[in-house]
Symmetry: C2
Subunit: 512 residues, 2 copies
């Protein structure tokens, strides 16, 4: 061989299939097949015969296929009549790829992860070379994967970023900034090949660069998952990850289809994990069946290492007895400030609104629904089958202001002041207010108790010490006893959320 590492690539081949009863081990059958082909002056390639089963496959030039089938039908006319030979036919439009690899099986595993299942596979360790036959619609993808593996080229990982608002935009920038370093250190070549919003989807097979935003602006494809799947098929892209940075109830409906089409999922979108438990489990089943991963560390506590920690503790048999904390950065800011300062509750809310900490309608934060969703997601990590309706949520918005318009709510914000001032003043000395999520009860049962509520805690406690808009999570377990594991830090914000999503992308990429 001139170049041991060269990849041979033969297009326009056909597989001639010869099927019948289990008589192929009989002496002389092979000889007859090859004699017939020889007489017809057909050169054969990869031969594959099943030692135990009843099939034989022969590779020929595509323009010899018809003749090969015809001459074998001739030769085995008697056996076809008697039923010993059941079928002789050809599969056209296939390609042969031959290569030498140190670790064949690593290559096969990579191919499988990308839904490439060779029609024929022929390996002899002695020669250290393998030939595989694939349909031509997958041959380029196959060649790319093999090249990455045997030349130890960085493995391309293709990202489709759904949603390029605050988090999505920051994520794209973080990926572009770090991709060279990751290529060098981890041999992973991250490429953002698709960026979508609710209206349009932009594609760039080679990977977007710093000008991605302009390309998205001028994109002409309507936003649809089918477009994305078609794009990945047409370009034969391997190692696909969809990153959902939306808060869309509609987009999560695509998770099943994406998993079935070879995409792993990374999501900062909380919606799917709070759907009814039946839906929740159905997705896990689809993922497992398709050997796909779904990571969502940022669903709770943004970039803080919370979900992974809980998952691992739970799986290793640690008995988690309670999870309690300040889950919302917005409400952390509100009550950290309201507790310490001599300002009215409405003043603090307005301030948070101006700083962009709250949603445009602060009632979305004050309702407690967002905290409740996060609490539910953690509960389900412990295999509890709670539903959203099981959660006791203390809505901070008074009844009278629940259904008024946003402008009216904002104009009547001061109506909240008296009540919250009273709550503040009625605390024990040196106590502060915190709006917490609390998962407790007997967590060995099917369901736990989930409370979302305003509480008063000693100012010197871990919760009481919380500052700014930080989140805090206390994980109580049997081994850790009365002193919980505490994880604290910025639990919201585009930078830290994007970094958390990036972490998930790397986790998935590393096991690809």
């Amino acid at each position: 061989m001139k170049n041991a590492n060269e990849i041979k690539f033969l297009k326009n081949r056909s597989i001639v299939k010869f099927e019948g009863e289990d008589f192929l081990g009989e002496i002389g059958i092979d000889g007859r097949i090859f004699k017939a082909l020889t007489l017809a002056r057909i050169s054969v390639g990869v031969i594959s015969q099943q030692a135990i089963e009843n099939g034989i496959s022969i590779l020929v030039q595509e323009n010899d296929a018809e003749k090969a089938v015809a001459c074998l039908i001739d030769e085995f006319e008697a056996e076809r009549k008697s039923g010993k030979v059941s079928q002789i036919y050809s599969i056209n439009n296939v390609s042969v790829i031959g290569f030498v690899a140190e670790d064949f099986n690593k290559v096969f595993a990579e191919l499988a992860r990308n839904n490439v299942f060779p029609l024929l596979l022929n390996q002899v360790a002695g020669e250290n070379r393998v030939n595989i036959v694939v349909t031509s619609s997958q041959d380029e993808k196959t060649k790319n994967i093999i090249e990455s593996e045997i030349f130890k080229k960085p493995k391309p990982v293709h990202l489709a970023i759904i949603g390029h608002g605050n988090v999505g935009k920051t994520l794209i920038e973080q990926v572009l900034e770090s991709s060279e370093e990751i290529k060098r250190r981890k041999k992973i070549d991250l490429k953002v090949v698709a960026v979508a919003n609710s209206k349009k989807i932009a594609f760039n097979k080679k990977g977007f660069d710093a000008n991605w935003a302009e390309e998205v602006l001028t994109a002409e494809h309507p936003s649809s998952v089918q477009e994305l799947i078609n794009f990945s098929n047409e370009n034969q892209l391997e190692n696909l990850i969809v990153v959902d940075n939306t808060a869309s109830k509609d987009f999560v409906k695509n998770y099943h289809a994406l998993a079935e089409n070879g995409f792993d999922l990374v999501s900062s979108n909380k919606i799917f994990n709070t759907l009814p438990i039946e839906e929740y489990r159905k997705l896990r089943y689809t993922l497992s069946k398709n050997n796909r991963r779904y990571l969502y560390e940022t669903n709770v506590g943004a970039g803080l290492p919370l979900i992974d920690t809980i998952k691992l503790l739970h799986l290793s048999g640690e008995n988690i007895t309670r999870i309690k904390g300040v889950f919302s950065g917005t409400l952390s800011y509100v009550f950290n400030n309201f507790s310490l300062r001599n300002d009215k509750f409405s003043t603090i809310i307005n301030e948070a609104l101006e700083k962009g900490y709250t949603e445009p309608d602060p009632r979305e934060d004050l309702s407690g629904n967002d905290v409740a969703r996060k609490l539910l997601i953690l509960a389900r990590e412990l295999d509890l089958i709670n539903e959203f309706d099981d959660i006791n949520i203390q809505n901070l918005v008074p009844e009278s202001l629940l259904s008024v318009s946003k402008p009216e709510f904002l104009s009547r914000l001061e109506e909240l002041d008296e009540e919250y001032q009273k709550i503040k003043e009625n605390q024990e000395p040196d106590h502060v207010l915190r709006y917490v999520g609390d998962l407790h009860g007997d967590l060995q049962k099917d369901k736990g108790e989930l409370d979302v509520k305003l509480i008063s805690v000693p100012a010197t406690s871990a919760l009481g010490q919380l500052k700014g808009s930080d989140s805090i999570f206390e994980i109580y377990t049997e081994s850790y006893g009365e002193n919980p594991i505490v994880i604290m830090g910025a639990g919201a914000g585009a930078q830290v959320t994007a970094r958390g999503v990036f972490g998930d992308i790397l986790r998935v990429s590393e096991t690809k």
Copy 2:
């Protein structure tokens, strides 16, 4: 087929190899080979011919092998003389395993991870069946792996636990307690097949049960890694993990050999990660070359999710600017108590000694070396190339007591009181003492600043709020700004350390 899932297992086969110039594609060669074998009345099995390269392999009964080689040598006498055919020979003592699997490539990947590389591999997707040929010394292991995969049986993971002191013993108990649950939920069948101390190693191929301690007591094998490697080879065990719960400087020397022999590594032993950077890197190279993993989350902060968090932040391009905290549970206890109580320093040390919090010779804790080792391990996760000697360590033991005997040190403990009382009283108001590790400086350079020292902090700060024997770690990064990620909790103790080791075992098992 009667049973689609049946695994066919044929022993006593040989591969006849036929090698020569690239003339095998020539018309008629195959026919001659098969005609010759037919005349010699030899039935052939799996045939493998390389489309592009110059080899052909034929599977025959072992007792036909000699005859097959002889008759082919006869048939191709002219070509052998002319050099067209270079070699005809047989490889004996091989087994054929035939099976049907939904995902062949998953099976191949599993085999590769366990160092099984088939001599011959023959797959035709149409028939959905594959035959592989392996040497008989690997055939049982191969069959087990295939069975686990295709019958979706729980995947056995074989653990060798080195060191069964406090942590090792607790770990074995935790594994035995959770193994059924993990088998059910994760399809991973954890088996403790070896337990060793520095003197002896006990084996149990089926996995130890609650009586493991007695079996170790009566074990007769001297403790040696070669014994362990032999045991795993003889019993053809797949999915191997060595768990190092020792503090041994000697045992870590085996890491290379273990990685080369198919073992993944999980370690609570800090020694390897604090060896000179050259050694540190050499192991990473061996691991990567052998496709093995090495996890050591418990090296710093026991079960707290510290190393994995730092690793992921760093890899995702987050600029970590400082890591600071109380790294030692022992010294946490000492200074948390000394700062708040009106007791002498020596009283607190004696109390910690009695409670078993300190090493038998408390100077090992007070020297700061243990904190320094942990700090170094974190620094290296950030790709800093610091050495142990670079660390500025404040040794809490006065010069005069450094080299006296342990009993003398303990009897003269009160000599420390005056100095530490003075330090305590010289603090600003509402401050407390903490013994911290601090990694700072420009961490984008090759080396960072590593300080291990006693400091005075406000009682209301996160460090100042620390309780009991908890550890605390503050991770400062660019995105998180002035408010660090804080991870806090029990950073020592057999239960939580064992649980952390267990977490690492599960991480490794899940990607197996």
